[in-house]
Symmetry: C2
Subunit: 376 residues, 2 copies
C-alpha cells in the first residue's frame, strides 16, 4: 500500500503531526499539574487512543456508550460518559460496570438522579455520577451558584449513589479567536467548576474530581488551581476551526482527505474532485469565523498548503476546488485530471466520522489501515 | 424489538411513507413514458432499493463504485456510475464489468476519455461511457452547445469505446421553491440533454440514452420528449430541504431520527436530547431556504409534527430542542426526561449516512434492522 495507489477519497492521518499534538497537550497539562483524560469521540480509533494513553493520559472521555464498550474491550477501564445519561441507557451502563469498567455517569437534574437511583437500587449497583456544571450557558449543566446544585447532589448521595465530582466544558471557547479571550473563558471554566465543587464540600458533600476542558481552554489556561483533570478531544488532529480560534497552525493539522481531480470547468477556474461533502462532512464551522475555508483548505499530495485554493463547493461525491480571489483560468494545467490533492478539514471530528477507517501515514512513509467505528 | 426499547439515536424508516413515495415517482414517470433509474446514494440500503426495483425501476444510479459493487453483489446488473471516472478507479470498474456488471461510466473531457481509451485498449475492454451534459452551470459537464461536445464524443468512438448516451442533472433545481420555477428548470434540463443528443446524432455519432433528473425536476416536468430515462434519489425518503423546494409535505418524510430527552435548561425553554449533529449530520440545507428548520423538525414518538419545535442547536451528541418564536418555559413538563421524539432531517442523504443501519418501521408496527454501508 502506498499513497499513489490509495483509493480516493481517503482519510489520512499524518502520524508525526498527531504525535506532536499529543505530546504538546500532555506536556502542557503535566506542567499545569493536572491529569489528562482525552475525549475519544474525535478519533473513535484504537491506535490513536493508545498513543494518547502511552503519552500519559489517564482514562478517557466518551460521548456514547458504544465508545465506552469499544474502548473497554480494548483494555481501558477508567471512562467518563460525558453526556447526561438517558434512563433507557442505564442497563447498558450497568452491563459495563458489571464487566469491570469503572464507568462514570453525568447528570444535571433531580429527575435524572431519581432515575439513576431507582435503577441502581433495583439492581444493587452504586453508580458513580458526576454533576455537570454550566460555565458558559452554551448547553447543559447547572450554574455554579444555582439553587439546583445542592438538591441534585443530595439526591444522589441520599439515594446511595457515589457522587464523584463535577464536570464542565466551556464549549463557547470555540467562538473566540484571541489569546486574551481564550485565557478569560478558560479562567471562567476553571473558576465555575471549582466554585461548584467548593459549594458541595461546604455542604458536607464529597467532590473528589473537578474535571474541565476543551481544546482551546486547555491550551490557554494560565493556571488550573482546584482542578484535578482536563479533557480535550480535537487537539489530537486539530482542524481549520481550531486554526481560526488560534490554537494551531495549518501545518499542525494531522487529518486530511486525499482526493483525485476528475474534471474541470476551465472558464470558471474550477477543478472537480472526487471528495464531496460525504468525504469532508457537511461541517461548515469556519463559515462564521474570521476566515471561511469553504469545505476545506487544499494541499498538495504530500501535504503542503497550496496558497489560496479552497474546496468552495460540495455535492455528495463532487467537490469544487477553486482559487480564492481571482479564478485560476489555467486550472486544467495547475491540476490535471488524476492529480492527487489533500484537503484539510473544517472539523476533524465530523470529517473522521464519514470513514470506516483512517489511513495512517507513518513518518517513514509506511501506510497502515486504522479502523474506526461509527453508530451507537 | 419495539419502538420503546430501541437504543437512541436511531434512524427510522416509515415503510408506509417510503412505499408511497416510491409509488408516486414510479407512476409519474410511467405516465411520462420514460424509464426510471433511481439514485441509490440516498439509502445505500438493499431493502430500500429492492422496493424501488419491485415498483418498476430499471437499473440504478450510483455515486461510488462501492455502491456499484454492493448492489451488483445483490443482483443488480444495470448500473450507471454518475460521477466522472478518476483514471485510478478504472481497474475497479474493469473488475465489475468482467464480473458481469453492465456498468456505465461518465466523462466530460478529452483528457478523461484518453485515460479510459488507453486503459480499455490495454485490457481489451470496451467501456460504455455516457457524456455528462451541463444544463445549469452548477457543477460538471459540457454545455449542450459547447464546441467540446463533439471532440469528446469522437475521441470515445474513435478510441473504440461504446458511446452510450448523454446524462444531465439539474442540481440547481434545489435552489427554487415555486412550481413555475421548477417547471422551467425541468424543461431546461430536458431541452439541454436532448439538444446535446441531437448534436451527436447529427454528427453521425450514436446516442441511445438521454438520461436526466433530480427529485424536483422529475416531479415538475410537464413532458419528457426525447428523454429515455430519469434519475432521482432523495424522493424515496424526502426531507425538509425538499419540503422547502415544494415537492413534499412534512407528513411524507419517511426518514426520522428517534431521540430521547436527557435534560433541560428551563429558563431558556430548552430540552436537551441525545441526538446531536452526529445523529442528524451537519447538513444545514434549510438555512438559506424560505424556512430554516435548524437541525430538524420535532415530532412526537409516533411521528406527528409538534407545532413549532425545532432542533435549534447541535453539538456532537447533544441536540437543543426549543420552540420557535416564544420560548416554552414549561418545557420540563412538555418533554420530561426520558421522552422520545422523532426529528425530521434537513437532508435525508446526509442523515442516513451517519448510521450503520436503519430501523424499518412497517405499517403493522413491526421493526426490522436494515443495514446500510458507508465508505468508499
Amino acid at each position: 500500500m502506498n499513497l499513489q495507489s490509495l483509493n480516493t477519497p481517503a482519510a489520512l492521518i499524518d502520524v508525526a503531526r498527531m504525535n506532536r499534538n499529543i505530546a504538546r497537550m500532555q506536556q502542557r497539562l503535566n506542567a499545569l499539574g493536572v491529569a489528562f483524560r482525552p475525549h475519544v469521540k474525535t478519533s473513535k480509533c484504537q491506535p490513536v487512543v493508545q498513543a494518547q494513553i502511552t503519552a500519559g493520559a489517564r482514562g478517557i472521555t466518551v460521548s456514547t456508550l458504544k465508545e465506552a464498550e469499544q474502548f473497554f474491550a480494548a483494555g481501558i477501564r477508567d471512562i467518563v460518559y460525558a453526556v447526561g445519561i438517558a434512563p433507557s441507557k442505564l442497563p447498558q451502563a450497568l452491563a459495563l460496570r458489571r464487566a469491570g469498567c469503572n464507568l462514570k455517569l453525568v447528570t444535571d437534574s433531580v429527575a435524572s438522579v431519581d432515575a439513576i437511583v431507582a435503577f441502581g437500587r433495583e439492581h444493587g449497583e452504586i453508580f458513580e455520577v458526576w454533576i455537570e456544571i454550566d460555565v458558559d450557558g452554551h448547553r447543559s449543566g447547572i450554574e455554579p451558584e444555582s439553587d439546583s446544585l445542592l438538591p441534585v447532589a443530595s439526591a444522589l448521595v441520599e439515594g446511595g449513589m457515589r457522587l464523584g465530582g463535577v464536570i464542565a466544558h466551556a464549549g463557547s471557547s470555540y467562538d473566540y479567536d484571541t489569546h486574551e479571550a481564550l485565557v478569560r473563558i478558560s479562567e471562567q471554566e476553571r473558576a465555575g467548576a471549582v466554585r461548584a465543587a467548593e459549594r458541595l464540600r461546604e455542604a458536607g458533600l464529597p467532590c473528589e474530581v473537578v474535571s474541565i476542558g476543551s481544546t482551546p481552554t486547555a491550551l490557554a489556561a494560565e493556571h488550573l488551581e482546584g482542578v484535578t483533570e482536563v479533557r480535550a478531544g480535537v487537539y489530537v488532529f486539530f482542524d481549520l476551526v481550531m486554526h481560526n480560534v488560534g490554537v494551531n497552525e495549518t501545518s499542525e493539522i494531522a487529518l486530511s482527505v486525499l482526493t483525485t481531480v476528475i474534471g474541470h470547468q476551465p472558464e470558471k477556474g474550477w477543478a472537480i474532485v472526487d471528495a464531496g461533502w460525504m468525504a469532508m462532512s457537511r461541517d461548515r464551522g469556519t463559515q462564521r469565523q474570521k476566515r471561511d475555508f469553504g469545505y476545506g483548505l487544499v494541499c498538495s499530495e504530500n501535504g503542503e498548503v497550496l496558497g489560496g485554493y479552497l474546496m468552495t463547493g460540495a455535492n455528495q461525491e463532487h467537490g469544487i476546488v477553486s482559487r480564492s480571489g481571482t479564478a485560476d483560468l489555467d486550472i486544467e494545467r495547475s491540476f490535471p485530471i488524476g492529480t492527487r490533492l489533500r484537503i484539510l478539514p473544517n472539523h476533524a471530528c465530523a470529517t473522521g466520522a464519514q470513514y470506516p477507517d483512517y489511513v495512517a501515514l507513518a513518518p517513514d512513509g509506511e501506510l497502515e489501515t486504522w479502523p474506526r467505528f461509527h453508530g451507537w
